[in-house]
């Protein structure tokens, strides 16, 4: 990561640098539904890829609903709860000053070990808002490499108005354009991305489409 990139990441770092480890099997609050235009486009792109078995990577917590819906469509589903994995302290390295620094190289040695151009689509959800900072950029680069050309990536970002206490959610696709959000306790919002940050972060993608929801969630559909 370039020094300017580092500075940029530091500049828009949000509330608190440290992240508390979530409780095992964190308690869930009641679910809420939202219509999701970005998801609708994402699902349409999946449906249009009919020539061979489509591979989709879901980076959120395991959702039986998503697996059911996607496998019904004939999609091969891959699931990795990377936020939960990133909370493992074994991926942190102790610095000279005694602080713990997240080691992305160590993380990728055990996670997201996939071939290049393997996935037709990736569901990134709002994971980026909660990840350790040193993991965000290398992760986006890794995801881009794993996506096929013209593959889609769907990501959500909280806006400034959402507030620092915005809860991380498990996303259940209940219809092709409707999500059910199940808040999960124990994860802290790490930063707020604005449009320019998002464009910088995903600059190597061919296109980015933004959808701003009424609930202070910015949906972004990236195409490699």
């Amino acid at each position: 990561m370039s020094s300017s990139g580092n500075n940029l990441m530091r500049w828009f770092r949000g509330a608190g640098g440290s992240q508390s480890k979530p409780q095992e099997g964190g308690k869930s609050a009641p679910r809420t539904r939202r219509t999701c235009i970005g998801l609708g486009e994402f699902m349409r792109s999946l449906s249009s890829r009919g020539e061979q078995k489509t591979c989709v990577l879901d980076l959120g917590p395991t959702s039986p609903t998503n697996i059911a819906l996607l496998t019904e469509m004939g999609v091969r589903v891959f699931n990795e709860d990377i936020l939960r994995e990133s909370q493992d302290e074994s991926y942190c390295v102790k610095q000279e000053d005694g602080t713990l620094q997240f080691d992305a190289t160590k993380f990728f040695a055990e996670n997201l070990d996939y071939a290049a151009d393997q996935f037709d689509a990736i569901l990134f959800w709002d994971v980026a808002d909660y990840l350790p900072e040193s993991l965000v950029k290398p992760l986006v680069e890794r995801l881009q490499a794993m996506l096929k050309p013209k593959g889609h990536l769907l990501a959500f970002f909280h806006t400034k108005d959402a507030g620092a206490e915005s809860l991380y959610s498990r996303h259940h696709i209940v219809q092709k354009d409707t999500l059910e959000l199940e808040p999960i306790q124990g994860f802290k919002l790490q930063r707020i991305f604005n449009n320019r940050h998002i464009e910088n972060l995903f600059k190597d993608f061919a296109s980015r489409k933004f959808f701003l929801g009424r609930d202070n969630i910015r949906e972004v559909l990236m195409v490699r």
Binding site: G50, P64, I67, A68, T71, E72, F78, N79, R84
Partner: protein, 202 residues
């Protein structure tokens, strides 16, 4: 002078050390086959059924495990597990580091390895599965942790014949094959039914 006591007129007990014990009610004694309490219907996943092999939680196995009967496995295994046409239940204490092949699989514990099932895989809420799953149908409870790929296989011909029963028995989420080819259209619609049952159950 000896005086008769009232209890002397009663018939002598065969067990004089237990005279104070109440006599069991005649109904229970006369009809021991009638249960006094309602009997619970054994569940499908009941681990102590006579026809199910049982490996307890203190057992550790390294190597190849094969069998031709259903198995409840609550111990630790490193290697391979091959039950082919039979069911495997991984108990809550089960820790498996193995490639698993079985007809049906129910997981309460932890599996690290690829799973191949010709029937149905159920991941219960307490389970952790790290590996790829290849199966005809899968049921995942909320709270289950899964890391890997899920591949829904085409149904083979004999399974196709049993399909209506299999779908009716599906209590949870079932993910069927959804190939876009026209030859699998019937299998797709059957899966849609079972998907509906999953949503209802929630």
């Amino acid at each position: 002078m000896w005086k008769p006591r009232p209890e002397d007129n009663k018939p002598m007990s065969m067990n004089p050390t237990q005279p104070a014990q109440p006599v069991p009610p005649p109904v229970a004694a006369a009809a021991p086959s009638i249960p006094t309490q309602p009997k619970e219907t054994p569940k499908v996943s009941e681990p102590h059924r006579a026809d199910v092999g049982h490996i307890g939680k203190s057992v550790q196995i390294k190597g190849e495990l094969t069998g031709s009967e259903d198995l409840y496995l609550d111990g630790s295994i490193e290697g391979t597990v091959d039950l082919r046409d039979h069911s495997l239940i991984i108990g809550p204490n089960g820790k498996i580091k193995a490639a698993i092949s079985a007809r049906d699989l129910v997981v309460h514990g932890r599996i690290e390895g690829n799973v191949t099932a010709t029937g149905r895989v159920e991941l219960r809420k307490s389970c952790t599965l790290i590996g790829d799953v290849s199966t005809q149908r899968i049921v995942i409870e909320d709270g289950a942790f899964f890391k890997g790929a899920i591949d829904i296989k085409e149904k083979s011909q004999p399974a196709e014949a049993r399909k209506p029963l299999a779908v009716a028995a599906s209590a949870g989420m079932s993910a069927g094959s959804g190939s876009s080819s026209s030859s699998t259209a019937s299998s797709y619609s059957a899966s849609s039914d079972s998907q509906g049952s999953f949503l209802d159950s929630k």
